[in-house]
């Protein structure tokens, strides 16, 4: 189907036809249609437009489209290729266009014979298109010339109503395969609306729906697994290693922090322990000192020493000897009758009174017979100390006094003294 310009019998008509056809292609390009780019375009690959397109293309949208697309290899397609495709299309379409023009119709799509439509389809199928270049190769030089013939004819085709009519007519088949033959508006917006409503139950729709279902499924799974805690499941090995490293270092930091805090806690506990211990020590010491100073009652094992001296021969000096003997034997708390014996205890007596009238005072308190010593200490030490030959007991018995020493495990020393604040002595740090 080679068409040499100026060789056909009705050259004018041929020329005319070609122009119309090109105009149709122009129209198609207006909407972004590119004769050969269809397949590539769809899979997202911006296919290089044919050389022809670009030559006659001052259109705004299309040129922008192409900016990103230029580096693709499709660009390098031989110039004849695209034109060859166009020619195939022309083959299929010439009858229609002619028929339409003959009928003077405005090319409404519904009028188009079904046979033509299917002819177009086969002509437009990718296999055929791909096959076309080789088959149409001989026409290459012809097609080279076409742009020349085209440029002068272009304005005319654009201007005539017939041109616009055939544009309509030739536009339809471009759209028809994709939109399933329903009316596709010239704008993308209308196409979108038409594609969305009303729904069409075509095979293509179902296949695409299936794929989109798979996509939605994957999308949802992925989104959910990313929001899940189990986001590690999908992670790659090196990501896992990185995460593990981060966790390790974080763990280390936290361990150090924990160690510091534990140390701090131990110190605090120790210091409070020390305070407690000091308090206990102080209490203990207070009790000990209280026993010594006679400010607190005391009890424990010890002896009870009772001296009955009707003759009045037991005087203060003998009582003091007894006390010294007890202290030397380790007595810790001593009470004579109702008087607590402490460090500054003193014995006194009125020397003017003799015999049965003798009066002994301890710390200024008069003590009556019998003298009763409550002594806390080790009984095994205290009793022998008193009973040693020539000791306290024997010397008192020589004075006709009766002395009894009774051991007891439970001696209570409960006579108390007021602790006097010393006037001059002050405690000094050791």
């Amino acid at each position: 189907m080679e068409r040499q310009p100026g060789t056909g019998p009705d050259e004018a008509r041929d020329e005319r036809l070609g122009t119309d056809d090109r105009a149709a292609h122009r129209a198609a390009q207006d909407r972004g249609d590119r004769p050969r780019g269809d397949a590539g375009e769809q899979d997202g690959e911006v296919v290089a437009p044919e050389g022809r397109d670009r030559d006659e293309e001052p259109r705004e949208g299309a040129s922008q489209d192409r900016d990103g697309a230029d580096p693709t290899p499709g660009r390098a397609a031989p110039p004849g290729r695209g034109v060859a495709v166009t020619r195939v299309r022309e083959e299929a379409w010439m009858p229609t266009v002619t028929a339409q023009r003959d009928a003077g119709a405005q090319g409404s799509r519904g009028e188009r014979p079904a046979a033509v439509s299917s002819a177009y389809r086969t002509g437009d199928s990718p296999e055929r298109r791909n096959a076309a270049p080789s088959g149409a190769r001989p026409s290459d030089q012809v097609t080279e010339e076409r742009p020349r013939a085209q440029s002068p004819a272009e304005p005319a085709g654009e201007a005539t109503p017939a041109g616009s009519a055939s544009r309509e007519g030739s536009d339809a088949p471009e759209v028809a395969p994709s939109t399933g033959g329903t009316g596709a508006g010239p704008t993308g917006r209308q196409r979108l609306a038409a594609a969305l409503w009303p729904p069409r139950a075509s095979r293509a729709q179902f296949i695409v729906a299936l794929l989109l279902f798979a996509l939605g499924l994957g999308l949802a799974i992925q989104v959910r697994s990313n929001t899940d805690e189990s986001r590690l499941r999908g992670a790659r090995q090196e990501d896992l290693v990185r995460i593990l490293d981060e966790l390790d270092s974080r763990n280390k930091r936290l361990q150090e922090e924990k160690r510091d805090l534990e140390q701090q806690r131990t110190e605090l506990e120790n210091s409070s322990d020390q305070a407690e211990e000091a308090r206990r020590q102080t209490e203990k010491r207070t009790a000990q000192l209280g026993v010594l100073a006679g400010t607190v009652a005391a009890r424990g094992p010890g002896i009870t020493l009772t001296i009955n001296d009707p003759g009045g021969h037991v005087r203060a000096d003998m009582l003091l000897d007894t006390l010294q003997e007890l202290r030397a034997a380790g007595a810790e708390a001593i009470q004579i009758n109702e008087v607590r014996v402490v460090a500054d205890t003193f014995f006194s007596e009125d020397l003017s009174r003799e015999g049965a009238n003798a009066v002994v005072e301890i710390d200024g308190h008069r003590v009556e017979q019998p003298y009763r010593f409550e002594v806390i200490g080790n009984p095994q030490d205290l009793e022998p100390a008193l009973n040693i030959p020539g000791g306290v007991v024997q010397s008192m018995e020589r004075e006709q006094a009766t002395v009894s020493v009774v051991r007891s495990e439970k001696i209570v020393v409960d006579a108390l003294r007021q602790a006097n604040q010393p006037d001059y002595a002050r405690s000094a740090p050791e």
Binding site: L196, W197, R203, Q222
Partner: protein, 110 residues
């Protein structure tokens, strides 16, 4: 319309049925999803251009997904998985953007 419904149903099913993805496939799912998105955007653009062909769409969809997953798989085997998947995502992202720009021009004429 049915296609859009398919997408919606897919998302809903994915969210509520919680299908279990085999562990071996899991690392490649995100990249496959991005590749499929690229194909879908290309398809929408082609539809707006009036040159949509379901066969081309199906083939491009499947091949996009497969090739993307294969690239990442190969990267994993070579030890440059994360870099390669980043590269794939960048390339697909550029294509998605250019397709989205074309769609935008169609729909908003701007």
């Amino acid at each position: 319309m049915i296609a859009v419904l398919g997408l919606v149903v897919g998302v809903v099913v994915g969210l509520f049925v919680r299908p279990v993805v085999p562990d071996g496939v899991e690392p490649y799912l995100p990249i496959a999803v991005v590749a499929a998105l690229d194909a879908v955007f290309g398809g929408v653009r082609a539809m707006l251009d009036g040159i949509f062909d379901d066969k081309v769409f199906v083939v491009s969809f499947l091949s996009n997904v497969t090739v993307a997953a294969l690239i990442v798989y190969l990267g994993d085997k070579l030890g440059v998985g994360s870099q390669l998947s980043t590269g794939v995502v960048v390339v697909l992202g550029i294509r998605i953007f250019s397709n989205a720009a074309a769609i935008r021009r169609h729909v908003f004429r701007a």
